[in-house]
């Protein structure tokens, strides 16, 4: 039945499928392994199935087929109240008719703990999220960020094996979001269990998670660390989803040992490749805005000429739009130097963009 080996992952999705009565396939025979001590993110556009997957893990949805294992146990048929996981909902779902303390004590009372023990645990949980003085407040008297912390405390006080977070930062404003990002990372390290986060915001996923699964249309497109996904995306979808990328369409001219020569409408370029295309294949050259050098090149590098259009100023950096010879525009990242030298190209001026063969990425 449940054969537990030491190499078994902590959480395993085994060909999990979710079909809705109206025919939509939300999760398409997905398999995934997650370890017991990481910050994991499910990232993707809305409708990709990430939330459905999370809800199947929590027990609020039942898979149409497939099995789910947690810590060696097959929990697929378990009711949510029985599962050793807890979830922080997107709306936080803090019970409005109970005080903060009663909210946190809710799960403990169900477990049948004694009154003194419950009071003690509640106090510790509140201290962990820095809300000790709010124990007798009602939820409507708290701010959104405070309510979220109550939801966190309420879930963590039950010592779940995994904590699930549904779009945890979407409702917070920018300043609070940054604080919360760091706060959650710190909390996870303290508690030591796996956090699984669902988000559509790639910045969130990249800054917080140690591994990310990028999903689209019910399947995982690529799984890896933020670095892997950013530097070596396996598809245009992933490349465009994490950070921004400029894509130049071209045809494969020649395939060398480690690099590929690509013919495009604006020139011929050499680039490294992770996969081996055939000559004549259509590929995309992907160059991240920060990979371009402006008007400052090494003769070995790839070069493109273009006309500078608008530039947006962001304080520590600027983004320029450059029009290429074939009419396509690319985004160029320009760091604004400490010594204040303004490198932004003037509107309408000619610019020369260059990048090295190792900086771009070839995409099918």
């Amino acid at each position: 039945m449940n054969t537990v080996t030491s190499t078994q992952p902590f959480i395993r999705f085994d060909k999990v499928r979710k079909e809705f009565p109206n025919g939509t396939i939300a999760v398409n025979d997905l398999s995934l392994d997650i370890s017991g001590n990481e910050f994991f993110a499910l990232l993707g556009p809305s409708g990709c199935g990430k939330t459905t997957l999370l809800r199947m893990l929590s027990g609020l949805e039942m898979p149409t087929s497939g099995r789910i294992w947690v810590d060696g146990q097959d929990i697929t048929d378990w009711q949510p109240q029985r599962r050793p996981l807890n979830m922080v909902f997107q709306s936080y779902a803090v019970f409005p008719h109970m005080t903060v303390g009663e909210n946190i004590a809710y799960g403990l009372k169900i477990e049948g703990r004694g009154r003194a023990e419950i009071a003690d645990e509640v106090k510790k949980a509140l201290a962990q999220v820095q809300l000790s003085d709010k124990i007798d407040r009602m939820p409507h008297q708290l701010s959104g960020g405070q309510r979220q912390r109550v939801a966190l405390a309420r879930a963590l006080v039950l010592k779940p094996k995994v904590l699930l977070l549904d779009e945890p930062l979407s409702a917070l404003d920018k300043r609070l979001r940054e604080d919360m990002q760091l706060g959650l990372i710190h909390l996870r390290n303290e508690v030591g269990i796996t956090f699984i986060m669902v988000t559509h915001d790639q910045e969130e996923a990249m800054s917080m998670a140690s591994r990310i699964a990028v999903m689209d249309k019910g399947s995982i497109v690529q799984l890896g660390t933020p670095r892997e996904l950013y530097d070596t995306p396996n598809s245009r979808f992933v490349a465009d989803f994490l950070g921004s990328i400029n894509l130049i369409e071209g045809t494969v001219q020649a395939v060398n040992d480690k690099s590929v020569v690509v013919d495009t409408a604006v020139g011929r370029y050499i680039n490294m490749a992770d996969f081996t295309p055939a000559v004549g294949d259509k590929v995309f050259l992907g160059i991240r805005p920060e990979m371009f050098e402006v008007n400052d090149h090494d003769p070995d590098e790839n070069r493109i000429e273009g006309t500078a259009l608008e530039t947006a100023y962001y304080g520590d950096y600027s983004l320029s739009l450059v029009r290429l010879a074939n009419g396509q525009t690319v985004k160029v990242f320009i760091e604004n130097d400490v010594d204040g030298r303004n490198k932004q190209p003037a509107y309408g001026s000619n610019v020369r963009l260059s990048w090295s063969a190792t900086c771009g990425v070839l995409l099918p």
Binding site: P21, L60, M62, P63
Partner: protein, 279 residues
């Protein structure tokens, strides 16, 4: 055949015990009515033993002049009451929605009283009132119905106010502001913007008033006289004496008419409401 998806925790309606319960309740609610309707086609002088299909009860019904007169009274009363109650109730609803004034809470509470107070109290009070002011008792028809109409209107229009106010709550004031900005006068705004929006609410309110008036027994019981019987009051006196099939027939007709009108109005309300962009 595709295997059925497993039931998720909150899908209560898919659980068998829930479905059984709802089925039992629906059977409980409809069985007596269906049985009674069925026996309106019974070929017998009594109503509880089935003796064959027949339309005789319906033919008998046409012979019952007093019953038909009572039905006529009910319809006239309902019609006039609907017109009055809808008008008064709608005007009040608009005033409550739009304006703030001293004593508003009192008026709202007062308007809610006819809805909450037991019908018998209202019936008794109105009867006492008409008696005390010596309301003329032998007016020619249809003026003899005025006391009933007045009483019906009094207890119907608060319901209309309720319904219309609910509809008004969803009104987008910016539509009105746009119209004023384009030069419309107050009267034009009401005629061209607010009233059309209100139409589904008016229909619902009018339907409610009509049904309440047609069905009313208690208040009518106290304000009617032997010359001004309404349909429910007449049935009441018949039912206490003996059980006759033509009563089933009359009831069946009334049920079918009420259902048809209700369903039509509900369908119309849905269509009109969604066409206006509100739901």
């Amino acid at each position: 055949m595709k295997p059925k998806a497993p039931i998720s925790p909150l899908e209560y309606t898919r659980r068998w015990w829930m479905r059984t319960l709802v089925a039992v309740v629906l059977v409980f609610l409809y069985m007596p009515i269906f049985a009674m309707m069925l026996f309106s086609f019974n070929d017998s002088k009594r109503t509880v033993v089935w003796e064959g299909f027949s339309l005789q009860p319906y033919r008998d019904l046409l012979q019952q002049q007093t019953l038909l007169d009572a039905l006529g009274n009910s319809l006239v009363i309902a019609f006039v009451t609907t017109v009055l109650a809808t008008t008064i109730g709608t005007m009040l609803a608009i005033a409550l929605w739009r304006f703030s004034f001293r004593g508003k809470a009192v008026l709202e509470a007062l308007n809610g009283l006819p809805i909450v107070i037991p019908e018998i109290c209202m019936g008794v009070a109105i009867m006492i009132f008409f008696n005390a002011i010596n309301w003329p008792k032998n007016l020619p028809w249809p003026f003899s119905l005025t006391s009933i109409i007045i009483a019906h209107t009094a207890f119907c229009f608060p319901f209309v106010t309720l319904v219309v106010r609910a509809r008004l709550a969803g009104f987008d004031r910016s539509l009105e502001e746009a119209a004023t900005d384009l030069g419309a006068s107050t009267w034009q705004v009401y005629r061209d913007i607010i009233l059309p929006y209100l139409k589904p609410g008016l229909i619902a309110g009018a339907l409610l008033a009509m049904t309440l008036s047609l069905d009313d027994f208690v208040i009518t019981f106290f304000t009617s006289s032997p010359e001004t019987l309404t349909f429910p009051v007449k049935i009441y006196s018949q039912v206490r004496m003996s059980v006759k099939p033509y009563i089933n027939a009359a009831s069946t007709i009334l049920i079918l008419v009420t259902v048809a009108v209700t369903v039509a109005a509900a369908w119309y309300y849905q269509r009109a409401a969604s066409r206006n962009g509100q739901k």
